[in-house]
Symmetry: C3
Subunit: 473 residues, 3 copies
């Protein structure tokens, strides 16, 4: 008896979910570091500085409406909703991990966007005259994009890691993101407006690799909590729909002014519509009585938006967008039906939200579609100026041709995959250290580990009963 | 005993909700058809094409910000939210049909908008030089509008039809919509910015006629499920509020640039505010203890936005908007209290969401308000140029005068009603065929017919008990 | 026995929650008054009138995109979402007052914005040539802002007052708001873009003073209902996130075109991000096992947006925003832990939503930050023109200097506090009259007082049981 107890104590010590010291310490120290680094490095750019009025006159800009703010702010707010409500609520589907889903998503996004402003700033927005990073609305969008990569990764480990681990994952994720983004966009000169490669492929494989490193052989001990209840599925639909509706803004947020933003929005709108129909078709076809599965509707309907990300700004043509969406709805839903169980059983990758089907695979498809579309671009379709503008064949790359651009796109995709897998394994090693306060195998997917849960009904009940009665909520 | 069983078997065969073949077949075939038709017909318009930069220079457009994208995209995204979250969540009020509400809404909207781009394109955006439909952001908005008509109709038959029936309803609904819209806007030259006639009147009567054709005399067998529970009512308020908040964008999305959009937004904002107060007043006044009814708050508060749709771009004046909203809040709420039960009992129209009170009646009022406001327009109020711009007295209609325009508006309203009722009866006939997989009378309003529902608690219980325990969710 | 009964009857008469006459009467009469006043006073301004096209030509405005509508409409819609979904859902956290939270919020906001258009119009938008108030999109935003002040006050008395009392509170609240706003912005010439002083400080102290006047010594009789349940906490997160995400639009909605809006959005975005981390840190640090408290995450994460309101348009610098957010997360969370219980016990202020921690204190901090930032402004940082534009050193105030502006800012803060406390005490006196239909002490926080609640499960149970079973919802 005493033996069992002492064994348990050791276990409890090993798997102590008390983060009372580590979480506040991480938050305080890192936030303080952010303040110092922002103080040293970050300033307003010329469009958000009070000197704008002089800049405007000096550059013959006729009106305040030409400030980049008015081109991008509506899209920025839509992207912002996707990051916090979209990703946050999409993960509330678990019957007893809604606080963790929406709350930790909130925490790591809020930290990640600060770190992203710095990391991306050093690579892209550094003003060499005074050594400062100059930020405007486009930087805010890019910071949100960068955070999206980490939130995708969170989907793979949802319910199995502590908030401290998530912070570490975000710190490294943002850092890796900024580096791979610089390599792909600037050195390789690939185009990736909606981030199929840079965001989704990277984020997907990053999360899957971490999940592989943190494999829990006895996770079935938490299986009673690893499912949805009726209302948690409806909450998750809030996330799905806000992601789905605002994805045209996501893919068009940082594309070229004018036709670039316009075309990216149209392509994404169409791809997503097409995905919904094939997702429904496959979901119904592969269930015994033709019933639809909410998991597919919540997730696979979004795959078209991921897959059209890279090519959204190209002349993909409306029917091209529909075809991309058509294929991705099928592939993503089949992934949920066959691939996710296979990966858990044989590859030891436990993917809570199925990010492989929603982000990693469609991201790779998106990269390939982008490469093909770029390689097939012709002056007759794009027009001379259109070709140069769309693919940015200027400066050091003024001699590029579409076919070569296609090769560069493919190279960019490879870099994203490598960074995702490599970075994930590295970070996974760090997260395996027994110091982070993650829950024991029989205690995953449970908000009570990290949240005050007040439902009095629960306190009247004890032990295992306590968990099964959650179904009544 | 064997007799009873064989009878039941026949019933089950007649009312088999298994859509495992029909639903995937419809989705795949129709989506493939969309891809082919899009390939043949649909291209980017000059503002979303890479040739925009040349077009801009040729037309002396000084800045990318003049691209229609920046005039309409914020409104488009708001309308998009209304279609998917607004309509979807508004219908989640039923205690056990939330998946169907939000999920089937998602499916038919995603299909409908593709078909709408084609149908409306053939009528309005066909470029006769090359036989292609050229699309931009305004077409996306119009496609969403067209879909709204079908989603309104869904409200009348919510919980009583199969997803395959909904797809058929949407296919015909969009087709009829495009034709009546062309007749009303182009041939009759009525103005209908917010679609009081074209969207709400048509959609309302279309749905009511279908519901009349599909009358279920024994629907009370499902009465245990035809109500809300506490949390499903809160979910429905998400739909209500997003519709209410973004209605100014709905009514101003395709009005004239500049003052047209500005005025439409103001009028709608005011009409909706006024409606809330009279809805609350009537709801409280007609209940025994003055208690408010969530059904009224969820629905009637929106009637003002419907009724101000046609006249929103006219010089309705702020007080005029308030008056419209004032009246509609009263009429719509009284409709829920008296008319809906009357229609069900005596006219055999079972209207699940009360779309007659929220869309059909206010739509008709909106058409009348539009006719009166147009007929009363004067040059002293509008200014010479303002009159021509607002009513589009140009081209073939350059000799129109306001009084005659009022007559045309009234004619437009009649066309909308006729198309709604006629089309609904026609489509209702088709939907009565016993091949569509709709549920039996005692099995309506139940997600388990078409969705995998995982609540384990339910599986421990059997028979009727299973249904009544839903209240605990 | 008869004695007890007659005593109860008196109590019931005193505390009769039947508002069947008073609520409809207030709604009808006040809405009718609005129509009349709008008819007499309110017209479209030159940018929303059909004469815009002539105005445009006369003023050499090159394009419709220069209409203020396109500068402010996206922000307006975001603010609108904050008012109705943000404030509404933030208050749904109570397990059995979600209808009242979101429904009464809806009612009073819809009334308040009409009255605000009039009150603010008389002070700010009166055209002296014809005695009319000319409205455009900026007036709609300001009306929403004005309403925000009253909704903040609602947070303090949530669950303890009747809808009629809320209407009275809003009528006086809007009136007081318009007066203090005029004094602070026009007479004192303080700047307050995001309304730290004008909206949050005023609204906070207004609500707290009313709550103090309406102190209920026996409120613990309703303590069984004064808490959250699992799903109501998730609903509240919808409110939190929409407030958090759209706060940059709130603070930038009415700032100067161009860099003013741009900078305000950036500062708010950063301050809010910083607040999240310190809120999490303090929440975890002060709980026994380091568990996070949803109350803090739902509320304190927003404090940074409040505190950066005044200074958002100034050159606060990105790191300055982070510092403001850092401090406010700490102060606000500590407020929930220590100050709210203290105020309830010793100061007799029962603050249901903790608005003192979310609005009043951060509002005061925001006022102070604004004063310091203004006083520290220099021409070298702002540029000559930038300084004049940002602080509006024009007209009667063309001789102002930053240091004096700092003093004026501080004076503005004092006015806001005085109006809040004074107005709240006055209105609280009125609301203590026993005619308003508020609930008895043992019946607070219960939707059944004012709403038809249909959960059948409840009707099978009686007495106290009825209340405790709510936990199962």
């Amino acid at each position: 008896m005493g033996c069992v107890q002492s064994f348990r104590e050791i276990c409890d010590r090993q798997k102590n979910t008390n983060v009372r010291l580590s979480l506040p310490a991480v938050c305080f120290v890192w936030q303080t570091a952010m303040i110092i680094l922002f103080g040293v490095f970050i300033r307003y750019n010329e469009e958000s500085d009070t000197h704008w009025v002089e800049h405007r006159k000096a550059n013959n800009i006729s009106s305040d409406i030409e400030n980049d703010f008015y081109f991008r702010y509506p899209s920025f707010q839509d992207v912002h909703v996707m990051i916090f409500v979209g990703f946050g609520f999409l993960m509330t589907f678990l019957k007893r991990y809604s606080f963790g889903a929406v709350g930790f998503n909130f925490l790591i996004a809020a930290f990640g966007l600060q770190w992203a402003l710095l990391m991306q700033g050093w690579f892209h927005s550094l003003d060499y005259t005074d050594g400062k990073i100059k930020i405007g609305v486009e930087n805010l969008i890019n910071a949100d994009f960068c955070v999206a990569g980490c939130l995708i990764a969170y989907g793979a480990v949802l319910g199995k890691v502590s908030p401290v681990q998530l912070m570490v994952m975000t710190l490294f994720g943002v850092t890796l993101f900024a580096v791979e983004e610089y390599i792909i966009l600037n050195l390789i000169h690939a185009r990736d407006a909606g981030g199929s490669m840079v965001i989704h492929t990277f984020g997907g494989y990053y999360g899957l690799s971490i999940s592989w490193m943190l494999y829990r052989p006895n996770l079935d001990q938490s299986s009673r909590l690893q499912g949805s209840c009726y209302h948690s599925d409806v909450f998750a639909m809030i996330g799905t729909l806000f992601l789905w509706m605002f994805w045209p803004s996501f893919n068009s947020a940082i594309t070229d002014h004018g036709d670039g933003q316009h075309r990216a929005a149209i392509n994404t709108y169409l791809a997503l519509a097409s995905t919904v129909l094939t997702t429904v078709a496959i979901s119904s076809l592969f269930q015994k009585h033709g019933k639809l599965d909410m998991v597919h509707i919540q997730n696979s309907t979004l795959a078209g938006g991921v897959a059209v990300g890279t090519a959204a700004e190209f002349m993909l043509m409306p029917y091209g967008s529909l075809i991309v969406g058509f294929c991705c709805g099928i592939i993503s839903t089949l992934g949920y039906i066959y691939l996710t169980p296979f990966m858990e059983k044989h590859l030891k990758i436990q993917d809570t939200c199925g990010i492989h089907n929603l982000h990693a695979m469609p991201g790779v498809i998106g990269g390939i579609v982008g490469a093909i579309t770029a390689a097939a671009a012709t002056e007759s379709v794009y027009g001379r100026e259109g070709l140069v503008n769309t693919f940015d064949f200027e400066g050091a790359f003024k001699d590029m041709v579409p076919t070569r651009q296609g090769g560069h796109q493919a190279a960019g995709l490879c870099v994203a995959i490598c960074f995702g897998i490599g970075g994930g394994i590295l970070v996974g090693c760090i997260l395996r250290l027994p110091i982070w306060g993650d829950a024991a195998d029989d205690n995953c997917f449970d908000d009570e580990s990290y949240w005050e849960v007040r439902d009095e009904a629960l306190h009247d009940l004890g032990g295992v009963q306590q968990k099964t009665c959650l179904l009544w909520k």
